[in-house]
């Protein structure tokens, strides 16, 4: 990436630790390229702060607002002293023009996120909570690269928070399902991991549910 001294002078900004860079739902039409430091991306979900990501030098954030003119979809907070370049719409285009690889990086990021979002959408198309939980476990296993021919005993890392936000279920409902799945020995809960006895069984369930849905 080519960042000239002039760019730094014109667009450089520094945040001290703990500062909000921008806030979820805030209108905004600028974006940031991190030069140094860590930026934490959070969202408030069910009255709790959820960390979505921690970004480092070379990462970009806030770009959706520029491309789409929508309020921020998450909050960005500096975690330590953070140096960024701060661009508005006009110089966003300038930056991309002189650094097309940044644009390509964004494209790849979008392509990946679209995939993930569609994947979550599939989870949410299932009405029964149990099916959603099964599909989320498959989703997480996929994401964690655990799926293979040998499907026995996969240890899927899944925090309660993740399960709640992915399935859209209430905590009490989620607990009931996890309990019932454990009783049936389909899963085993161990700390932050859920050990799935046979993921193929879940895959078959999803497959048949999809067929049912399509008939309706």
């Amino acid at each position: 990436m080519f960042i000239s001294e002039e760019l730094v002078q014109r667009f450089g900004k520094t945040f001290k630790a703990g500062e909000i860079i921008f806030c979820e739902y805030e209108p905004g039409d600028d974006f940031f390229l991190i030069q140094s430091g860590h930026v934490k991306i959070i969202k408030i979900v069910s009255d709790k702060e959820k960390t979505l990501d921690v970004l480092v030098g070379g990462d970009i954030f806030g770009e959706m607002a520029i491309l789409e003119q929508q309020p921020r979809s998450a909050t960005a907070i500096s975690q330590d002293e953070v140096k960024v370049l701060n661009f508005n719409r006009q110089n966003f285009e300038l930056l991309l023009k002189t650094n097309p690889e940044i644009a390509i990086k964004l494209l790849k990021m979008f392509a990946r996120r679209i995939y993930e979002a569609k994947r979550q959408l599939r989870v949410l198309t299932f009405a029964e909570p149990e099916t959603r939980v099964a599909d989320v476990l498959i989703l997480l296993a996929e994401k964690q690269g655990l799926l293979s021919e040998d499907a026995s005993k996969l240890a899927v890392t899944a925090s309660t928070e993740d399960l709640l936000s992915l399935t859209g279920l209430k905590e009490t409902d989620l607990d009931k399902i996890l309990q019932s799945l454990s009783v049936q020995h389909k899963i085993e809960i161990s700390g932050n991991k859920i050990i799935v006895s046979n993921i193929k069984e879940f895959e078959r369930l999803i497959h048949s549910k999809q067929k049912q849905q399509n008939r309706i």
């Binding site: 990436m1 080519f2 000239s4 760019l7 630790a17 703990g18 806030c23 739902y25 805030e26 934490k40 991306i41 969202k43 960390t51 979505l52 990501d53 970004l55 954030f61 770009e63 959706m64 491309l67 789409e68 929508q70 309020p71 979809s73 998450a74 907070i77 975690q79 300038l94 991309l96 023009k97 002189t98 097309p100 690889e101 644009a103 390509i104 494209l107 790849k108 990021m109 979008f110 392509a111 996120r113 679209i114 995939y115 993930e116 979002a117 569609k118 979550q120 959408l121 949410l124 198309t125 996929e142 690269g145 293979s148 925090s159 993740d162 936000s165 992915l166 859209g168 932050n192 399509n214």
Partner: protein
């Protein structure tokens, strides 16, 4: 390195849903349809591609399997690009890049919105109210700085908003000190409790390589491998109101016809077919200021690009030694700093490794691949490189090492055909032991 033209007969299929994806296409002549299944309704969707349009982009860039089937309706000719060729093409066509970005971000918002709607069970969120609520969230938790930030932003952006008086009052409360007890200003920072980035990101984004990593000798130089998967969060999409089109995801990108057309016209089978950058026609974009571009080493870029392409072409003619010379010239070019040039260096290590392997110089090939990983620890070619290292160890009869590398590839997300390939390689070895 240039696109090739491929002929397809009526009724044939260019790729099936769930195939691994390596190529991006432009329809030159003929008729092709993309057939996909709607996620929410399960309905089959059929989109016909217009002549000159791109298709198959997203799965390649996002590195996942095909989500649709590309079926040939009448005899067709398509131009085929690999990822590197496609990236090179679009990096020289700013308008296309911007269009693609907008198309992608728009899809992302739309699918995100659907997700959001299902999660919220139809409750509409009003941004202004939500912004105020964020202030309330921090206020409740006595995080003064954050609360003030959100309230102030609310007041700035919604001077006529219904919560304006409340926001104002809350800020006064905070500033008058009624809000915090004496010690909270210190406590604030502490209870914000940012965990260390590594611990945190590991929790949310599991490292792609298993902890009981196999090849210790390999590790010292590659601790950064652990980071390979730290690309920006997908979760922030999952939980946000961003979105997605219901119009079939790789539906032809409208507006990209012109470029495809131009490219396909420029392509002539008998010339040494190189893609010339399509001339920038648009006038609505600010040209880069002379100050920012003057020190940009464009001259070198052209140099290494040229060399790389020559190497690539020699390689494809089976002239491996000559190709290696070209790749070495790229690798040994001094003072390259811009990403584009460095990308050619990265790819040169890769291609040089392949050329060496073709010439049966397995150890040298491994060195070249290892250099790639050392120098470009976040390379997109990482997984493929690890696989090739395994393959070269196997050819060099260093079976244990080969197995270690295959093992590594098997565990690396995302799961794609190369993981399966590594797995079958490993099993093949094991069956012989």
């Amino acid at each position: 390195m240039s696109p090739i033209a491929r002929n397809y007969k009526e009724g044939s299929v260019i790729y099936f849903q769930d195939d691994s994806s390596k190529e991006i296409y432009i329809l030159k002549t003929g008729r092709i349809a993309l057939i996909s299944t709607e996620i929410d309704t399960g309905e089959e969707q059929k989109d016909e591609i217009k002549t000159g349009e791109f298709f198959g982009i997203k799965a390649v860039l996002g590195n996942y399997k095909r989500e649709e089937t590309a079926q040939v309706l009448t005899q067709s000719v398509v131009l085929v690009f690999n990822q590197a060729e496609f990236e090179m093409l679009i990096s020289k066509n700013f308008n296309i890049l911007m269009k693609l970005l907008k198309v992608f971000s728009n899809q992302l918002r739309r699918i995100g919105k659907k997700v959001r709607t299902l999660l919220d069970k139809g409750e509409e969120r009003i941004p202004s109210t939500e912004l105020f609520n964020i202030g309330e969230y921090y206020f409740k938790r006595k995080k003064a700085e954050q609360a003030v930030y959100a309230y102030k932003k609310y007041m700035e952006n919604y001077p006529n908003g219904q919560f304006y008086p409340q926001a104002e009052e809350k800020i006064e409360q905070i500033e008058s000190g009624n809000f915090v007890s004496a010690d909270t200003s210190v406590a604030n920072e502490e209870d914000f409790s940012f965990s260390a980035p590594t611990a945190d990101s590991e929790e949310n984004f599991p490292s792609p390589i298993s902890e009981d990593d196999v090849d210790a000798s390999f590790d010292s130089n590659f601790s950064s491998l652990e980071d390979v998967n730290d690309s920006p969060s997908i979760d922030d999409t999952m939980n946000s109101e961003k979105s997605f089109s219901d119009d079939g995801f790789d539906s032809p990108l409208s507006g990209l016809e012109d470029l495809g057309q131009e490219v396909s016209e420029q392509w002539q089978p008998n010339k040494k077919n190189k893609i010339e950058p399509v001339a920038e026609k648009s006038t609505d974009i600010t040209p880069p200021s002379p100050n920012t571009s003057e020190s940009n080493p464009k001259v070198k870029e052209v140099g290494v690009a040229q060399l790389y392409h020559e190497g690539f072409s020699l390689f494809s003619q089976g002239k491996y030694n000559e190709a290696i010379v070209k790749y070495d010239e790229v690798i040994n070019t001094k003072n390259l700093t811009d990403a584009e040039s460095l990308n050619f260096v990265e790819k040169s290590y890769f291609e040089k490794g392949k050329a060496l392997s073709e010439s049966n110089k397995y150890q040298d090939a491994i060195i070249s691949f290892t250099n790639l990983i050392k120098k470009f620890s976040r390379s997109d070619l990482l997984k493929e490189t690890l696989f090739l290292i395994g393959e070269n160890y196997e050819k060099a009869n260093q079976i244990q090492k080969a197995m270690n590398f295959y093992q590594k590839v098997i565990g690396m997300p995302p799961r794609e055909s190369i993981n399966a390939k590594a797995k079958s390689k490993l099993e093949e070895i094991q069956s012989k032991l």
